[in-house]
């Protein structure tokens, strides 16, 4: 049994975000992190490994420096890492990305017992599209927004969250599940794990590695193969600074209440 976890390295948008004058993101000035939801997927994989003895493989598409992130994930207990990297893959939208990642997963081979885990969405694009699109490209059933996962033989039961409650869903392996933060608390790297991680298997899948897969075609990968294009990107205007009221006492509050009443807001 294998568990394949898809992860993404993303700019840390929780801190200061730098935007270039032309409206693009100044990525060079920003720290990168492992996408938070993906760490929940890694943790879910490690817990399934403890239960079943499965091999856990982490896979990411990105530039070569993403090795550092993958090694850190190996230090948490993941057995093997694959970086999918090549200039032919650059500029891919979610459709093209899922074609490439699905081809890479095909290369690893999807067998009867296997499970593929993804984070729900990445904090740079917030699309939540790549997980379901990989599942479609691999012809596998999917369950998204997983808050609980239990495996019993070839049946996986998932608590799938909705805005107003949840669904309990049963699905047979092989399948793809996207994970949310309510699923678990990701473990830290262990000291031994950090010591060992650079001796664990690490591979790069480039265009040459994947090119024989029918999913890999110039018309379906990279910038040219992406169905969506950016028409314009821009920064939203800052709303004009409003009124800072003097003081913080009852008189201040009375003034504010008066202003609201004058605008018929109360």
């Amino acid at each position: 049994m294998k568990i394949i976890v898809c992860v993404k390295q993303v700019p840390d948008t929780s801190g200061k975000v730098a935007v270039n004058p032309d409206g693009t993101l100044n990525r060079a000035s920003m720290a990168t992190i492992t996408n938070p939801d993906d760490l929940n997927a890694v943790e879910a994989a490690l817990q399934l490994k403890e239960q079943t003895g499965a091999e856990v493989i982490v896979i990411s598409m990105g530039p070569p420096p993403a090795e550092g992130m993958l090694r850190e994930i190996q230090a948490r207990g993941v057995d093997r890492a694959v970086l999918v990297s090549g200039r032919e893959f650059g500029g891919s939208d979610t459709y093209a990305t899922s074609q490439i990642l699905a081809a890479a997963i095909n290369k690893l081979g999807v067998e009867k017992d296997d499970v593929i885990l993804c984070g729900r969405q990445a904090i740079d694009g917030d699309t939540a599209q790549v997980g379901p699109q990989i599942a479609e490209k691999l012809g596998l059933p999917q369950v998204s927004y997983a808050a609980e996962i239990t495996k019993d033989g070839d049946t996986i039961t998932v608590k799938r969250m909705l805005e107003d409650g949840y669904m309990t869903i049963k699905v047979k392996t092989p399948c793809l599940i996207t994970c949310i933060k309510e699923l678990n608390t990701p473990r830290y790297m262990s000291v031994g794990g950090v010591f060992d991680c650079y001796s664990k298997p690490y591979e790069i899948f480039d265009y040459e590695t994947l090119k024989d897969d029918p999913l890999i075609d110039p018309s379906t990968i990279g910038l040219k193969g992406s169905p969506t294009n950016i028409f314009k990107s821009f920064t939203p205007p800052q709303k004009g600074v409003g009124m800072m009221l003097e003081g913080a006492d009852r008189a201040t509050c009375d003034k504010l209440a008066g202003l609201l009443a004058a605008k018929h807001l109360i």
């Binding site: 459709y95 699109q133 409650g165 309990t168 509050c253």
Partner: protein, 370 residues
């Protein structure tokens, strides 16, 4: 891979479609928002607007969509469609798209819409833009939008060619730091999931509802198509807070940490006086102080109430993305440099535990005086 993309985009003349989500036979309010927005797009394209409604025994709720602007509704009724499943819903929708060829398809960006949308787009080999907050066809209208909502230089806006007829799908990226407008020029339907609570609902028109055409396509679905099995659907036991529908939202942030219960109680009291509900920043949800249905912001809900009060919220860009279009923003924060003050109409620099009780009294007094 599907050879579907070989069809010429001109063949997709089946109008604008809106996937109208229902749960347990009740229409989600985002379906009405999207029908209203879809009406605008269909008018710009000079085409028709159709709702797409899947479920079991749901025909009775279809015509109401006409009251918000749908010319017709495709009603797909089948026992296997009673509960949402990725497999069943994707198959039926893709079959419909193949047959009737819409040029645009909108889906609410709910937990279900965001499961269904990408699966359909991948099968249909077309583009999907996630979680859109603004949609246009006509370039002059798009330019108007950019003039009001972007920092682009006027000459950059003026130079956009006016003949583009693609659906222009605008959405926040990088937590709202950037906005991107996406098009899908080579494939149809152009697909978008649309953030709930953002598009305005039209006034309901009874005559249009009565005139709405109901179309019942053949649904071919069998147990063999179903790879996932819904064991149960559980509604949250407690009533969830209706942030999106509220006229007033009083939100709390990390600033309540020294007395969480007291801070929430103050927010509840202020919300009661103003006739609103309580929300929270991501920090308060992550800390477990409030349940997830209270979350305002990029990963929570987008609200635009008449009054938004931010108590002890610093104003991270992710939070601002969910509330900055509120009509009147009031912020109370101890830190005079808190970014929330950059977008607040009225700011008070002070301790929320001291200011809020006085504000409650002041508002009570002002209301009594009217």
């Amino acid at each position: 891979m599907s050879n579907y993309n070989s069809a010429a985009i001109e063949e997709f003349n089946g109008g604008v479609w809106v996937f109208c989500e229902q749960r347990q036979g009740k229409m989600m309010s985002t379906s009405f928002e999207l029908i209203s927005e879809g009406r605008k797009l269909a008018d710009e394209l000079g085409s028709k607007l159709y709702g797409v409604l899947l479920g079991h025994n749901i025909e009775g709720i279809a015509k109401e969509l006409g009251g918000y602007g749908a010319d017709g509704v495709y009603v797909c009724d089948h026992p296997l469609l009673e509960n949402y499943t990725t497999d069943g819903y994707t198959k039926v929708i893709c079959d419909l798209v193949h047959e009737y060829k819409p040029e645009v398809m909108l889906i609410g960006a709910t937990n279900i819409g965001r499961d269904l949308g990408p699966r359909c787009a991948a099968r249909l080999h077309t583009g999907l833009c996630a979680d859109c907050t603004h949609l246009d066809i006509d370039v002059p209208k798009y330019k108007e939008f950019l003039r009001a909502s972007s920092t682009l230089a006027p000459n950059m806006i003026d130079s956009i060619k006016e003949d583009d007829r693609n659906l222009k799908m605008t959405r926040p990226a990088f937590g709202g730091h950037l906005m991107a407008t996406i098009i899908c020029p080579r494939f149809r339907p152009a697909m978008a999931t649309v953030r709930p609570g953002v598009m305005k609902k039209n006034e309901f028109d009874k005559a249009k509802a009565d005139a709405c055409e109901i179309i019942k396509p053949q649904v071919s679905l069998t147990e063999a198509d179903m790879e996932t099995q819904v064991v149960e659907v559980v509604k949250a036991a407690k009533k969830l807070v209706d942030l999106i529908g509220a006229d007033v939202v009083v939100s709390v942030g990390r600033g309540i940490s020294k007395d969480v219960e007291g801070g929430i109680k103050l927010a509840e009291e202020l919300a009661e006086v103003l006739g609103g509900v309580v929300g929270g920043s991501r920090a308060t949800i992550d800390a477990g102080w409030l349940s997830a249905d209270h979350q305002v912001g990029q990963t929570g809900k987008t609200v635009h109430p008449k009054i938004y009060v931010a108590l002890g919220i610093s104003g991270a860009i992710q939070h601002k993305a969910g509330m900055q279009d509120s009509e009147c923003i009031i912020a109370v924060n101890k830190n005079e440099n808190a970014p929330i003050f950059e977008i607040a109409d009225y700011g008070i620099c002070g301790d929320l535990f001291k200011v809020t009780p006085m504000l409650i009294e002041a508002i009570k007094a002002a209301k009594a005086a009217e």
